[in-house]
Point group: C2
Chain length 208, copies 2
């Protein structure tokens, strides 16, 4: 079953597609990225709705096993393939990993990506002052919770992967570098993550 | 450490507070519920913001270990306390459990609770036709993914706990029972969940 073909459906600009790509890269899994553009005129198409009934990306297939929701895809990748573990085994680290993953979903992704990066790159829209404040608050919370070298344990975990997929965009914003630099540990983590093979292998277009 | 006092901060009306209460009840953990009302005038108060910097509920403490985000709290409860496992061990079941948990976060909770239950109970607002359609779609997806007796494996898991915390409200809506009854397996699961000791021990006020 490990040898069955792996397909990931989605667009490389998506934070959540990148999370899955980073997890697959970390495990050394060969996969084919099948382009699906959720912003296309008329939506992502009927064939995609059969894979993901809510029309979101990513969706995933391993042989005839189909799956959607990033959290489930990375959980599957962790269990179905060999390679270094991506989930912290130690209970305290595991708890922190889950907390940081959900902080990305609920606060970092909306604040850093949708309220700062997206309006800034749309060019005709300015980032509101309160969006930078909200981003600064998220960074402060993350800097306080993260470990000394990796987000949630002694090695790269899903917490690092989730956080980097959002922060790699935020670093490209006008005030991103300055707001990150306010937290020395977080800034050092960012520098290491930017050079990590798993980040390099899955970079966003703006990082290249 | 198991014997250190457990505090859960939040309101009994909250779907996510109930998820934590159900997990604690399933493990047989004694805990104290510390009331925090996020809808109070002026917000939840400064002391709560020290526990949960984004002002949401629930927050959690076990002795001097503090934590927020429901997914992390239930992950901690699973690992820190004895009692029946709440996370499926089998890889395929675990994957499905994670998928169903995120389907609650991303689709079921917004559609069933915020777009159907909340406006209906506000009395002055009617539930829009498209809200019932969205709810029906979520139910169809869940009915298709769920197992024959429990949501994601051979016994109660976090997938059942997450799903019930949302569905217990939806069952109280005008069209809820009819829309659930369209899926025999889901309807039978609801009936069993309604009588499960963990549901009974943590019921919403409207269920009593």
């Amino acid at each position: 079953m490990q040898d069955a073909p792996v397909h990931l459906y989605g667009a490389t600009y998506s934070v959540y597609v990148r999370i899955c790509r980073m997890a697959l890269a970390a495990k050394g899994v060969d996969y084919q990225l099948m382009p699906v553009d959720v912003f296309a005129d008329g939506g992502p198409g009927h064939d995609h709705l059969e894979r993901q009934p809510f029309g979101k990306i990513p969706a995933f297939e391993h042989g005839d096993f189909a799956l959607f929701e990033t959290d489930a895809i990375v959980s599957y990748v962790e269990r179905a393939f060999d390679g270094p573990p991506l989930e912290c085994r130690n209970a305290a680290h595991h708890t922190r990993m889950r907390q940081l993953m959900r902080i990305v979903d609920n606060y970092a992704y909306p604040a850093l990506v949708w309220k700062c990066y997206v309006p800034e790159t749309a060019e005709d829209r300015e980032v509101a002052a309160e969006s930078w404040d909200a981003a600064a608050k998220v960074l402060a919370v993350v800097a306080c919770l993260m470990g000394p070298s990796w987000m949630a344990g002694p090695a790269l975990s899903l917490a690092d992967i989730y956080m980097w997929a959002a922060l790699a965009y935020f670093r490209r914003t006008e005030r991103g570098p300055e707001l990150i630099a306010a937290h020395a540990g977080l800034a050092a983590w960012c520098d290491r993550m930017a050079e990590h093979p798993v980040s390099v292998a899955t970079g966003y277009e703006v990082e290249m």
